[in-house]
């Protein structure tokens, strides 16, 4: 009989060997991905940190959801992949909208001669646009829908879309776009766009009110309910009529809200019992875009595959300056999409995400975020030319793609606050002194590793109205010295404080020290940041007190104007200065509109508001740019924000991924991505050789721990009573 040690060792060795054998069967041991279908080029990516909550284009309004939706749906308009500033192009539509201006009687007019009451947008659907194969389109021999059930029991065996054996397809019709807009207006869907779009689209509010009172049982065919501002001209053309002039409406047409929804798909998902098995349009999008969803497991992954019915679409043959040199035009003229499949795995933790990227199991470091700001600090060092890859990363042939987001983060003053608010010269000087004292560049270098650009105006780079160089600096905070913007001195800030009535940071009348209050979101600021801000303002003798709260409470304070200095941010919906300048438009103040308005500073300037009203309805051009510059000057003079910066994200791309240019507005860029699978496999094998010695060491450690015990036990067994 074998002694206990030999038996346990033999069992452990057997287990170890079986694990080794099992692991050896499928490439690297640490490969977290199941084998991809042979012959399909797969893009490997992640959704982080949470799965999408909504994939219904009428309901969804989050960038991570848009990342999935925009690969599946095609709204009428889109953006050029390469050109900058961002350029609108037709996507689902044949051409740009044909705009007709109408007077109050509905007659076509010349907008320069008569006041515009309505604008009619006529859109033509692309002739070759077809939907993905889907069971909603499947018909039986008589032409009737194959999957139309009257009883929940009939469809019980279908738990996901792949369970349906039959599918069909059809061309995209103009009515599908009209139907989609009606879905936005249907209060039952709870679209976040309803309130906003009802201000513009004629009849949307009334349509919504009417549907509110309709008794529903199962599917409600919206085709039976006309909306005044929508009209189907023929199978490929439709009209949208909006109130007045709103040139930015074309940009809205590039958002997923306006993607076509076939009525039969809506009807399919209203089959009785489907919702109990999560068979809804909110989880199974159906579109005419380059990809279609084949798996949606919100617990682990979303899988997209090439839509076999996708129209003829080609890689652009022209781009922005430098694109050709960067190899971004190498695929010009190729049929899109360039990959067959895309897998988005749910990744909640940063360490896992980062490790998998370094091991080559993810093609890029992120999708909607580069995941490099403050998180992957070890990947970067600050060199003489700014942020560079660290030595560890340098040998991995990783591509770095910086991307300045079309957005802005800022700390704003509440202009109604008795201390820092107001429009007198003293109050302006007080705010300007505080602006100078807050060294944004240093703050970004310390806390964002330089991944941000100090803002001189609310409009970020890439958006018309943004001005670089000397002409673009904020002259109240910066001087132009030696070819660069240099922050004014602390002495200047102190002098401004004196003129504002706060010499050395004390109220000249009462002698009380000036204390400012900053409302911060608890999770959005660290103690070290707060210490830095304390020190920054201490240089001009100003004290700071923080009022941390969660987002819900912060929002309440903003709605009631109960803040002094608050933090906020804005990411563009579309690349137009109007989408940023409205952040300070008087009627957008929550205290004025009694709503969740965007002007949290409660800034009120009759001059600014008038300019905004004019600018909003003007077509792009020099005159409009001059008005934008005038508005920016007003904001600078009034010093409405304490500081602001344009967030910069750094995306890392493994060497086998091509066409990595980031688009700040559009998310439908997956179709341009190309993967060199052979190189990926080679690198993965190279980078993921397991280190075996720890297994032996662990076995030895277990033996070393057990051995003294076993020896002592045997000795005790053999010992006599005396011992």
């Amino acid at each position: 009989m074998l002694p206990p040690l030999a038996a346990s060792t033999r069992a452990a060795a057997l287990l170890f060997c079986s694990l080794l054998l099992a692991a050896c069967t499928d490439g690297p041991w640490n490969n977290p991905n199941p084998p991809a279908p042979a012959g399909l080029v797969t893009y490997q990516s992640m959704i982080s940190p949470a799965p999408p909550k909504h994939l219904d284009p009428a309901i969804s309004y989050a960038s991570d959801e848009s990342l999935i939706l925009m690969q599946i749906y095609e709204p009428p308009m889109g953006y050029h992949f390469l050109k900058r500033p961002y350029e609108l192009i037709p996507l689902g539509a044949e051409d740009f909208p044909e705009i007709t201006f109408l007077n109050a009687r509905g007659e076509a007019i010349d907008p320069d001669q008569e006041e515009v009451a309505f604008s009619r947008y006529r859109l033509t659907v692309k002739a070759d646009a077809r939907y993905q194969p889907h069971p909603a389109f499947a018909v039986d021999d008589s032409g009737a829908p194959r999957y139309l059930f009257s009883d929940p029991q009939q469809g019980r065996s279908f738990r996901q879309i792949s369970d349906f054996p039959h599918s069909g397809s059809r061309a995209v019709h103009a009515n599908d776009y009209v139907y989609a807009i009606k879905r936005l207006a249907d209060p039952f869907n709870g679209s976040p766009m309803l309130g906003f779009m009802a201000q513009y689209i004629v009849g949307m509010e009334e349509f919504s009110a009417r549907l509110q009172d309709v008794e529903r049982e199962g599917w409600l065919n919206l085709d039976q309910y006309p909306m005044e501002g929508l009209a189907v001209v023929d199978e490929r053309r439709f009209d949208i009529t909006i109130k007045g002039r709103y040139p930015q409406f074309s940009y809205w047409l590039a958002m997923h809200f306006f993607s076509p929804i076939p009525p039969e798909v809506d009807r399919f998902f209203h089959n009785p019992g489907f919702i109990d098995r999560n068979l809804t349009l909110d989880w199974w999008p159906v579109g005419s875009g380059p990809f279609m969803m084949v798996k949606n497991d919100p617990n682990s992954e979303i899988v997209l595959e090439r839509n076999p019915n996708f129209r003829a679409d080609y890689y652009p043959s022209e781009g922005a300056p430098g694109d050709a040199e960067a190899g971004l035009l190498d695929d010009a003229g190729k049929r899109l999409p360039l990959v067959d499949r895309a897998v988005f795995r749910l990744e909640k933790e940063v360490l896992s995400l980062w490790t998998k990227f370094l091991q080559g199991y993810y093609d890029r470091s992120g999708e909607t975020h580069g995941n490099t700001n403050r998180v992957f600090d070890q990947a970067f060092v600050v060199g003489p030319d700014g942020v560079e890859l660290s030595a560890d990363m340098a040998g991995r042939d990783i591509g770095v793609e910086p991307d300045v987001k079309p957005g802005i983060y800022y700390y704003g003053f509440n202009m109604r606050d008795p201390v820092v608010g107001g429009y007198s010269e003293e109050k302006r000087k007080l705010r300007q002194a505080l602006q100078i004292a807050f060294d944004t560049e240093e703050y970004l270098n310390i806390f964002y590793k330089g991944n941000g650009i100090a803002a001189h105006m609310p409009i970020p780079p890439g958006i018309p109205g943004f001005v670089e160089g000397e002409a673009g600096i904020n002259p109240y905070v910066y001087d132009w010295v030696d070819g660069e913007a240099r922050r004014k001195s602390i002495e200047h800030a102190q002098q401004l404080l004196v003129e504002a009535g706060y010499p050395n940071g004390r109220d000249a009348r009462t002698g009380e020290p000036l204390k400012i209050f900053i409302d911060v979101q608890s999770q959005a600021i660290s103690n070290t940041s707060m210490n830095w801000i304390d020190r920054a303002f201490a240089r001009i003798g100003v004290q700071v007190e923080y009022r941390p709260a969660d987002w819900n409470r912060t929002r309440e304070k903003l709605l009631t104007g109960n803040t002094q200095i608050y933090s906020h941010g804005w990411l563009a919906d579309y690349p137009d200065p109007e989408n940023f300048l409205f952040l300070l438009f008087g009627p957008e103040s929550p205290l004025i509109c009694k709503c969740d308005g965007a002007n949290n500073s409660n800034y009120e300037s009759a001059e600014y508001d008038e300019l905004f009203r004019r600018m909003r309805v003007m077509p792009p051009g020099a005159e409009r740019e001059a008005i934008v510059a005038e508005m920016v000057d007003l904001l600078r003079k009034d010093a409405v924000w304490l500081y602001a910066f344009y967030p910069k994200n750094i995306y890392l791309n493994n060497s086998w991924v091509y066409n990595n240019k980031r688009h700040g507005i559009s998310k439908n860029t997956l179709k341009y991505v190309r993967i060199d699978e052979a190189l990926r496999e080679q690198k993965r094998a190279e980078w993921n050789q397991p280190v075996i010695w720890p297994l032996y060491a662990a076995a030895l450690l277990v033996i070393a721990l057990l051995l003294p015990g076993i020896i002592a036990y045997r000795r005790r067994l053999r010992a006599t009573a005396r011992h």
Binding site: W29, G190, P192, E349, N552, D596
Partner: protein
């Protein structure tokens, strides 16, 4: 025994009502229905009408506990609390705020939770008991003192350290297993090795020290001395005499956990990307999804009560002198 079980199940009803009431109150003290609406609708262009519409669609447009506009019993029944919490007693969990069927999600997610929790539980108990018995065998020696020191050291280390350390060493540096993930199809085991290993190692300190204390109480009993005097080997004494007699306190701590294994572990599942009920709960808290939170708390309470009843029943198996009445 049947009467005893029925009585315990009936006791569970007021406990579950209390738990529901407490969860409901705590959740709505922190989040108003308006907060939930904003969280679901996003931060941009949220109009008061959209908020009202969302509340109406999801049944949050009623008073919380008491409806002053209603008459009679409907003052209590026409409320959010009644609508959302009372129907849990019929195991109708409804839909999450994002529209998914909770029962379906729970049924899908409990298996990955169990796949991690069950081996961790079984291997953990086995290892802890074996280690504790070995240490008891050398009670009073330097080996015993060294082991106790080691247990206290292991106990003192944060669970997060084990997780991150394990991921860093085993998955990142040595590349022996995937750092995280889970695929029901194919090689599930390779995703389980690391979380189970981490779970077992992290539990050794506290577990083995506790079992050692239990075993030491038994080791000094007369029957042990008698067994030793009649020539039984140390292994026989430990496994045939001490272990069965120490089972009651062991069962008290262990059986109650068995039903809760379905609920998974918040930390392990989050860090290792296991799509189980632990991470489901954590996601729901983060996204202010009250429908999921209340359902999970309800299920957790039921499983805990079930665990307590099972514990009582297990006493009769471990010690024939125990009778439930």
């Amino acid at each position: 025994m049947f009467a005893y079980i029925v009585r315990r199940l009936l006791y569970a009803i007021p406990i579950l009502i209390g738990v529901n009431l407490l969860t409901f109150t705590l959740f709505f003290v922190v989040n108003s229905p308006d907060d939930m609406a904003v969280s679901q609708l996003g931060d941009k262009y949220v109009t008061p009408e959209a908020i009202e519409n969302w509340k109406q669609k999801n049944g949050y447009d009623k008073p919380l506990f008491l409806n002053p506009d209603a008459a009679g019993l409907t003052r209590l029944t026409d409320t959010i609390f009644f609508d959302k919490s009372v129907r849990l007693f019929a195991f109708d969990f409804g839909r999450s705020e994002s529209g998914r069927d909770i029962t379906s999600d729970v049924a899908t997610r409990m298996w990955p939770s169990l796949a991690v929790a069950l081996p961790t539980f079984i291997v953990g108990i086995g290892v802890n008991i074996c280690v504790a018995l070995m240490v008891v065998m050398f009670h009073g020696t330097r080996l015993d003192r060294g082991a106790v020191f080691l247990f206290v050291a292991l106990m003192s280390i944060s669970y997060l350290f084990y997780i991150i350390g394990g991921q860093f060493l085993v998955a990142k540096t040595w590349r022996l297993v995937p750092i995280s993930g889970f695929h029901a199809e194919g090689q599930v085991w390779k995703f389980l090795i690391l979380p189970v290993l981490v779970g077992v190692v992290a539990g050794i300190g506290a577990g083995a020290r506790w079992y050692r204390t239990l075993f030491l109480e038994e080791a000094n009993q007369d029957y042990v001395r008698t067994a030793r005097a009649k020539g039984c080997s140390e292994l026989t004494i430990l496994f045939r005499h001490i272990l069965p007699n120490a089972l009651i306190p062991i069962l008290t701590g262990v059986v109650v956990l068995i039903p809760s294994l379905f609920m998974g572990s918040l930390l392990i599942e989050s860090f290792f990307g296991i799509p189980g009920l632990g991470s489901y709960m954590l996601d729901a808290i983060n996204s202010q999804d009250f429908a999921i939170v209340r359902s999970m708390v309800f299920i957790g309470s039921i499983l805990y009560i079930l665990g307590l009843i099972l514990t009582d029943i297990s006493y009769t198996w471990a010690d024939p002198r125990v009778r439930l009445s």
